[in-house]
Symmetry: C2
């Protein structure tokens, strides 16, 4: 059961293969254009943040069927051997245009566009959604947390244990870092992505010692440059007193305790108590880190009430960033064989034609987006940029730091109303469609309904 599903072309829905067999039988090999967008968001969310395109590109570049995978497909008895033989040379040979990671976007805007022979663009649907959905939601959640923390609280991803599996833990750490988190506790994310690592100690560490203060002192001696003491294992006030005594003992040895961590109770009340204990006991320079079911609303509350917290770890609510069905993403065919295509399903209608999004700025702030047809020329900055052409990279992968810098610039250019946690309710960002987009939909509807 320990699997490496991340690379397999079999990590897709069965219907992709059944459809591909029909396309193969019918000779439907023309070019298709699919676009990925998020449907209208509910709730108070004002924006999303693009993330995940880099993992999509890596996945597409290596996509191929092994002889074993073809043999297994054959063994199911569902497919013709001629069709399976056609998969032997399957590669992704198409184009990808996408909003670079860290870009802020809004509902119904295409964030990724695939232009490729039909079978290629179709097969990849499930995994492309699977990769983009999570990373985009985590980046948006993290960006909201960073905005709520207002530059005053460094935030760290502590979510691995509650993430839905290994890949979710890794990709969440990366998306949160893009969106402005200071780092992660996930060691492998440090190793693979170069993300700064942070950590404290667990309750089990304290419990395994006969004496809380001795456990603190021992930790400081082994890790003299990286000591954050968890103080709520038994009693938070006594824990703070013992941490203060340990800090003074360690200071005498030249070791500085950086912080204490609080993981339970009413954070605002407890942090004030702990601050008072530390201050009273000569530990004014020992900071307080808070963890435990925090999210952007909790962060805003801590800051609004001037709670003496200096850093926060965010776990469950970062890596499980939203509750279904909001927000919902879709990957939809918008053109095939040179002709626009659409669906008209109730509540899920799509806009045909390959599209682009242009963003206009005033005094450095984003003021409006326009969704136009890709061939139009509109004022503003086009948000979808070429990533792959004929299956090959247009440029070398950008460093993670570049995406992080972009995310910060995007948040800085967000109008003040949209930076509010309830920005989606109070002031939706203006996103218009060009007359050409609207006309194309009417014409395509008349043709296909």
């Amino acid at each position: 059961m320990i699997i490496d599903p991340a690379r397999s072309p079999l990590l897709t829905d069965l219907y992709q293969f059944t459809m591909l067999q029909v396309y193969h039988a019918a000779g439907m090999t023309d070019g298709a254009v699919f676009e990925l967008h998020f449907r209208r968001f509910a709730g108070d969310r004002a924006f999303l943040m693009a993330a995940g395109s880099e993992s999509v590109l890596e996945w597409l570049e290596q996509l191929a069927f092994s002889p074993e995978e073809c043999a297994w497909l054959n063994s199911t008895g569902r497919f013709s051997s001629e069709f399976i033989a056609s998969l032997a040379d399957f590669r992704f040979t198409g184009d990808v245009d996408a909003m670079p990671e860290g870009t802020i976007f809004f509902a119904e805007e295409p964030v990724l566009r695939i232009t490729a022979p039909l079978r290629e663009a179709q097969l990849i649907e499930s995994r492309v959604l699977n990769l983009i959905h999570l990373q985009t939601l985590v980046a948006a959640k993290a960006a909201r947390c960073v905005l709520a923390a207002g530059g005053r609280l460094p935030l760290v991803d502590f979510g691995l244990r509650r993430a839905y599996g290994a890949e979710a833990g890794m990709l969440a750490a990366r998306a949160a870092y893009v969106a402005g988190f200071a780092g992660t506790a996930t060691v492998l994310a440090g190793e693979r992505f170069g993300i700064p690592l942070f950590g404290t100690m667990a309750h089990s560490y304290i419990e395994a010692h006969p004496d809380e203060e001795e456990a603190f002192v021992r930790f400081g001696r082994v890790h003299p440059h990286n000591t954050t003491l968890l103080i709520d294992t038994y009693d938070i006030v006594r824990g703070a007193e013992r941490a203060a005594r340990a800090a003074l003992r360690l200071a005498a040895e030249g070791i500085r305790v950086q912080a204490v961590r609080i993981d339970s109770g009413n954070c605002a009340a407890v942090a004030r108590q702990v601050r008072a204990v530390l201050d009273r006991n000569g530990c004014r320079d020992v900071r307080i880190m808070a963890t435990g079911n925090l999210d952007e609303y909790a962060l805003a509350g801590l800051l609004a009430a001037d709670v003496p917290v200096d850093a926060c770890g965010i776990g469950t609510r970062l890596v499980i960033p939203s509750a279904p069905p909001d927000p919902d993403c879709a990957y939809k065919l918008v053109a095939y064989a040179g002709r626009p295509r659409l669906k008209c399903s109730a509540g899920k209608a799509t806009w045909p034609g390959a599209k682009q999004v242009w963003r206009e700025y005033r005094d450095g702030m984003m003021v409006a987006d326009t969704i136009g047809l890709a061939e139009e020329k509109l004022p503003g900055r086009p948000l979808l940029v070429p990533m792959l052409r004929n299956g090959k990279r247009v440029a070398v992968p950008e460093p993670l730091a570049a995406a992080r810098t972009r995310a910060a610039a995007e948040c800085a250019a967000l109008p003040a109303e949209l930076r509010r946690l309830d920005g989606g309710d109070s002031a939706p960002f203006p996103v218009e469609r060009t007359p050409a987009v609207v006309q194309l939909r009417s014409a395509t509807e008349r043709e296909f309904r």
Copy 2:
């Protein structure tokens, strides 16, 4: 960025390594006991269903540090070279006791117990939680869906695209199958786990054709034994009429259309319309499959209103099975060096000592659970069973079918009140602790606070 994080011992939190270095420096090598439990659930949830222990066992059996991983840890400058050298022979040599997959359990009951040298039991915390949390929540969600469907609606996992990454998609397919789903659309889950595969067609398939009816007929000819037609791409009533015409044309060729699929609109109203169109057009034997943001409440609503739906695909709400912070799981030290241990943190206090859960039955129905100390002998069936001893399997892995059979038996033995979707509100299952457990906590509190 395409990674195989599933096996790496670096897929853990940084603090595990910092704590391990202290344990190493201090010679803290005694045996530890950790237990995993889910804290009190909020909302109307009456039970959870154990899943994921098989993946934990496989992960533990292969756990080891490669020379490259040790070299990378060394390169961080955070650890002593002597400590890193001690990881070279790291293996999991301990015991695992767990509730077998498919077992129903309740809040605060230990579902998995690790007995191992401290460093081993500590390092594995993050990944053990990461594996058990998702699979248990998905199994419980799926079991609730299966109960709501009352044996009248086969359910299929359609969640891959919304799952949080590759591993989440795979493990969700497996957990849902254990809990009674008929199968999955995820091809790789069919290949790796032998789960039955189901699929229909996408809107893009219809859109890529100039004519909806011709698209239906073409699909039936290529897949004569597996034809479910998606009918809501343009207009649901016209789609149903075209499906009926296609079904009659295919019937003349000896090909049977099994079903149509509805993916949008008000399911109850639309399914009745579609049923009427099919019946009126000679397609009484063509069934209706519904998809689109369904969950256990929607299923119960469809059945209560006698909506003519014959099968359902469940996606987003299966693979994102709950909203934080409910339910929350924890892996806590309960004994070290032969002495009980506890934490007393506000709202998160633990019960010390290695424990067992005994379940009693009356007339084949479960009536009460008792949490006792592992060394007690109580009436009823002990739910935690030996899985690993000294790092080795006690028995060969059970077939997936065995877990599925167990899950069905567990649901059948669930009291009627708890089978209700709001069972958690109306009638919590009685879970008691023995006097020995209560006394041990008091004694341990006195010792450690």
